[in-house]
């Protein structure tokens, strides 16, 4: 089982950086076997292709606005994930959905894609998360661990 756990988002815009912070927290809290790679993808696009290609499982962590109270955690999987990112067309027109589409086209699509989201409060300039989002980062890291265990990956808490 070859896995990438990737947080995406901008660390300079408060809750926008929750994905990166969550995978950092996950790496701090848990010990994973070498077949699991943990990456802060920032806001990069096509540079991330080399990390996504050829994985069995891709777990993405990002802020997701779904109309729920701030800090709410959500989970999406399969075809819903590229569909969600499809609306994210920057002037580069290359987002996560495009990367996934490229993987599909080059037969390198991860077999399984799961997205964990957290509802943001503030996307203003700043390095700190809002209290509501910060309070749930630990739980978000736990969800990633639980997901990995479902796939038979040995995840152990750091004591």
């Amino acid at each position: 089982m070859n896995v990438l756990v990737m947080g995406v988002g901008n660390l300079l815009l408060q809750d926008e950086g929750a994905g990166g912070k969550a995978v950092e927290e996950f790496a701090r809290k848990y010990r994973v076997p070498p077949e699991v790679e943990i990456l802060d993808g920032g806001t990069s696009g096509i540079e991330l292709l080399q990390y996504i290609q050829g994985r069995d499982l891709l777990i993405l962590v990002d802020v997701v606005r779904s109309g729920n109270p701030c800090g709410t955690l959500t989970r999406f999987e399969g075809q819903h994930v590229p569909a969600l990112f499809r609306d994210k067309i920057s002037p580069h027109q290359l987002g996560i959905s495009d990367l996934l589409a490229v993987c599909q086209m080059t037969d390198a699509m991860p077999e399984k894609v799961v997205l964990f989201g957290i509802e943001p409060k503030s996307l203003d300039t700043g390095l700190t998360l809002s209290d509501e989002v910060a309070a749930n980062i630990g739980r978000l890291a736990d969800l990633v661990a639980e997901e990995l265990r479902l796939f038979g990956v040995k995840v152990e808490p750091c004591s």
Binding site: G9, I46, Q50, D62, R65, H80, P91, V102, L143
Partner: protein
Amino acid sequence: MAKRITIDPVTRIEGHLRVDCELDNGHVSKAWASGQMWRGIELILKGRDPRDAWLFTQRICGVCTTVHAIASVRSVESALKMEIPLNAQYIRNIMIAAHAIQDHIVHFYHLSALDWVDVTSALKAEPRKVASLAQGMSSWSLNSSQEFARVQEKLKGFVGSGQLGIFANGYWGHPAMKLSPEVNLLACTHYLQALEVQRKANIIISILGAKTPHIQNLAVGGVANPINTDSPSTLSLERLYYVKTLIDELGDFVNNVYFTDVCAIGASYRDWTAYGAGVTNYLCVPEFPLDTKGTVFELPGGYIPEGNVGRFSPIRNFEDESFVKGVKESVKHSWYKGDWNRHPWEEETEPGYTDFLEDEKYSWVKAPTFRDAPAQVGPLANVLCLYAAGHEATRKYTDKALATIGKLSGAPVPLEALHSTIGRHAARGVRAAVLYETLQKQWQLLMDNIGKGDTRTFNQPEFPKGEVRGVGFHEAPRGVLSHWIVIADKKIKNYQAVVPSTWNSSPRNAKDAPGPYEASLVGTPVAVPEKPLEVLRTVHSFDPCLACAIHMVDTKNAEIVSVRAL
């Protein structure tokens, strides 16, 4: 009566680029570019240790991470008047050149080719004919009819499944699409091959930069790469020879695929040399420092006013006053308080949003000027300035591109044809070829210097009491990037980044002169106002990069998704 079109790629998130055009008789008569540049970096950096700034600035943008790191350390080194060890210059130079080549390849194939290439037309091509066409252009080993047939099958499956993904935003069957099915399949095949090739540039950057995205090896004063030719945990000979292999693989693609494709598409769309010139004041800065003081450079910099290559004036080094004193930014038409026109060191950033008021304020982008005039930056500015300066490799590849396009299209192409939409693509191809030579040379210089027994990579910075100012500039893939820093008592007092897209996507300035995007769109024909492909062609030719900073997902617009809170 004039018709108005607004192109707003993302309507649901503040920021990004919006372009408004007035159409008269099927042509653009007036245009406005409105965007949200990153405008908060100084808020984050104020009061911090200047040695840490680059780690934050490389988070400004997802695509240009390395370039903001480089410009940032240079700004602090400029303020401290530091010398940088040769090895550090060369290692930085290799990362800069590799990143630029990767960026140009990705821009051509993945960000703009679909403005010119029709994927659905490629399904009708005859793979054998594509192979004979391609083999007549270059010796690239993957130009075989089997490869073209394989890609065509893949495309059929992809288009048939409705999962267009990356191809979903194309204007298929648009009357302005003119390539034959064979050229379309050729370009689509190279599009996929380019995905693989661009990774090689990233591997070079991750070997030297410790990781990518977000390199970790920079330091104010040099780089953090220990050099030991035998130790596997440092920059060893084995690693350096692997870098060389990757450099040559990149070069093979640049010369035998990218460069020839640019010429072929340029020849097919030769009419586009008549559109998209806009602002023809061109600005670039010298790049690839070859000495410790930053006074000698591999590629020169300079300024060309009004498209007149004969009036080129050089920008010689990191201290050159014509650059340091020549830059100003105006907020007359930008969403900031006041209507000042100031030097970056004197700026303050107080937002003052007013909604889109085309005669007043309408953009988050400030309007930079050089010698009080708007300037175009980027590969075209770079290539024209280098050509004017007599840079040998640039002349060689520019002449080759013009001759090839002339031969393929049946009439000579003058240098002036480069002042255009298609000229910006051609210049990027020329620059990639020049950068491959640069990359080889920098690698050799590094090897030779290590061979002499020099393993130094870092000089310790020393901060004086009181106030010092610096500017770090960098000829980035999208053009002139400058970071301006004021340091007071070892802490950052002010920090401004004037990025390439600020120059190109500039709104009207203090004298109401339009910026490069705005000026370049005037006169562009638009066949179908509801599908303004032609406008996108010109805007994309600049390689726009605005506020690529937010990746938040919004479920409101994806109806098929039902959200369950955990």
